[in-house]
Subunit: 329 residues, 2 copies
DNA sequence: CTGAAAGCGCTTACAG
DNA sequence: CTGAAAGCGCTTACAG
């Protein structure tokens, strides 16, 4: 049904080879025949099939992006950065949700490779490094975000997460807090950069670090609310909470309100990422700012660089953070 | 480099035809040879190329989704609904942003077709119906969201938008407001269902309808803030604002705060969609609730139904709304 | 039950 | 400058 190269060739009275030449502007063709072919293309509304092209060139002009959950504003803003960058290069992007689960992540990666994507951007879960090593071999070029896994074939985009945690917790200590809890995200705490920064600051100020004051869980609002309720009941002496991200922080605020704890007077709360809605929370969230959109752009640029230079290896891209002080802490 | 069907055939000592049979479980093959082939598949880690399959079957097992802006929580939640539904069917999804611009929307649709997507879900801008008619011919199956364009080949998913507007404005009138403005979205006001509902309610209560009290613009927070500032300066008698969506409503709240107008006492504000963050605004937003995620699921189910039954035509899917009363109005 | 051949719609050496 | 042929990795009639 769709118009094919043969149709165009017939119309223009040339071979398909010549049509290909006219379209792909490889020179070696008279201006006159090119015009004739292009006219036929126009008349017929011909558009080359990327599927057929891909079969021979091994390039689909698509990339895959595996993230935790597109409905999370952090990921959707990041996604906008990658999509805009990809679009500028004429690329389309497949998006897959992993929900931070290793099996979903692997299935997504496999399906993307089945579709022949030219590269993948991945927010990995905390599964073993051996998995990532295997990924690197199969799914190159691969850009990994926010996980310091150094490997020849992997591109890295790293937010200064530990630094952000230090900024946040230092600020709380400076405000006189001595009982500071942390609501963490998914994955093992000992691998979590935010937890490292949190611990380091407490230790450096001679403050106690208690494991029961670090609550891991999924990076969603509900975890923030639930953990805060738990925390404030079990450990009422807590006066400040450092949260894994803004969603969790918003959940924490919600729980404080329910329990009649004023924010920040009775309990200060700091988030992470500074998503758009952080400023609109009640009270407006103090948060560690990350330039999320730009991060998405940078990850995509890196991926394209790797595509264009398959034999080079590229240094990690580091992304700054800064503390944005609002009313919640 | 990747393992091909020939490699598997060689390994198993059969022809590629037999490999194909073993994989696609078409019967007509001995259990014994099938096992032998499957063993070879396993050993080699063979995965069929969807690109090659697509070239002959004309099915890519991908769909395209064109939305306004993935960073907008309404669209990202909707997207989650389509992605989950697609994934359950083994489909991958391309996402494209149109920013509500007709040219971007068309370019996106074309690129999706170039990639051979099996179907498209589209949030159309307000360009002419002739464009949609052309779309219907080229891009079928096509599911259109929130735009009542009836056509044989198009699937429709329609939120009861006018009804939602009626609910919202009726509520404001019931609260005693007589000077109710509207901050509208993109597109011509006379085609906008929310504006119809808004007008109908005012007229039915004998209240004046003024064109200067309806401010169209992009569906973003900044438009809400800017238009509110404009409105409260030019028409200080306004005591309530019905907003196109929650993002705009949040902008309106922001502007009210800046100008020292208390919400809802000095100016009541109602949003639309009831995105997740509506409940967390300050004050929490009164909004017209839409089951966004479910809408995404339904649109995708409809698309798959159309794919499976190319000759049938399907009735529109209508989505209910309800007013959720919080503190902003 | 199994295989050889054609073909999906392109690009890419290779001739002329 | 232009064309005939092979081939990308599969599936699908068609023989045997």
């Amino acid at each position: 049904m769709p118009v094919t190269m043969r149709d165009v060739a017939q119309r223009a009275g040339v071979s398909i080879r010549t049509v290909s030449r006219a379209i792909n502007k490889q020179g070696e063709i008279t201006e006159e025949t090119r015009q004739r072919v292009l006219a036929a293309v126009e008349e017929l509304g011909y558009r080359p099939s990327k599927v057929a092209q891909a079969l021979v060139t091994h390039r689909t002009e698509t990339i895959g992006f595996i993230l935790g959950d597109i409905a999370n504003p952090y990921f959707s803003e990041f996604a906008r950065g990658v999509m805009d960058t990809a679009e500028a290069e004429g690329y389309n992007v497949f998006i897959c949700n992993s929900d931070g689960k290793s099996d979903k992540e692997i299935r997504a990666a496999e399906s993307l490779v089945d579709h022949g994507v030219d590269g993948i951007i991945l927010f990995p879960d905390y599964a073993s490094e051996s998995k990532l090593k295997a990924f690197a071999e199969i799914y190159a070029p691969l850009v990994i975000v926010n996980r310091p896994f150094y490997h020849q074939k992997i591109g890295l985009v790293l937010t200064q997460i530990r630094q952000g945690a230090v900024l946040a917790v230092d600020y709380l200590v400076g405000k006189g807090h001595t009982a500071i809890a942390m609501i963490a995200g998914p994955g093992p705490i000992d691998q979590m950069q935010r937890a490292k920064g949190y611990r380091d600051v407490l230790v450096s100020h001679g403050l106690p670090v208690a494991d029961e004051w670090i609550l891991p869980g999924p990076a969603i609002l509900e975890h923030g609310a639930k953990s805060t309720r738990h925390l404030l009941i079990k450990h009422p002496q807590v006066t400040a909470i450092f949260c894994y991200n803004d969603l969790i922080a918003m959940g924490a605020i919600q729980a404080c309100k329910e329990m009649g704890r004023r924010v920040p007077d009775d309990c200060a709360i700091i988030g992470f990422d500074d998503i758009r809605f952080a400023a609109m929370a009640d009270p407006p969230l103090t948060s560690v700012h990350v330039d999320i959109y730009s991060l998405g752009q940078q990850a995509t640029c890196l991926l394209f660089n790797m595509l264009d230079n398959p034999d080079s290896s590229f240094p990690p891209v580091y992304a700054d953070v800064k503390l944005v002080i609002r009313a919640s802490a």
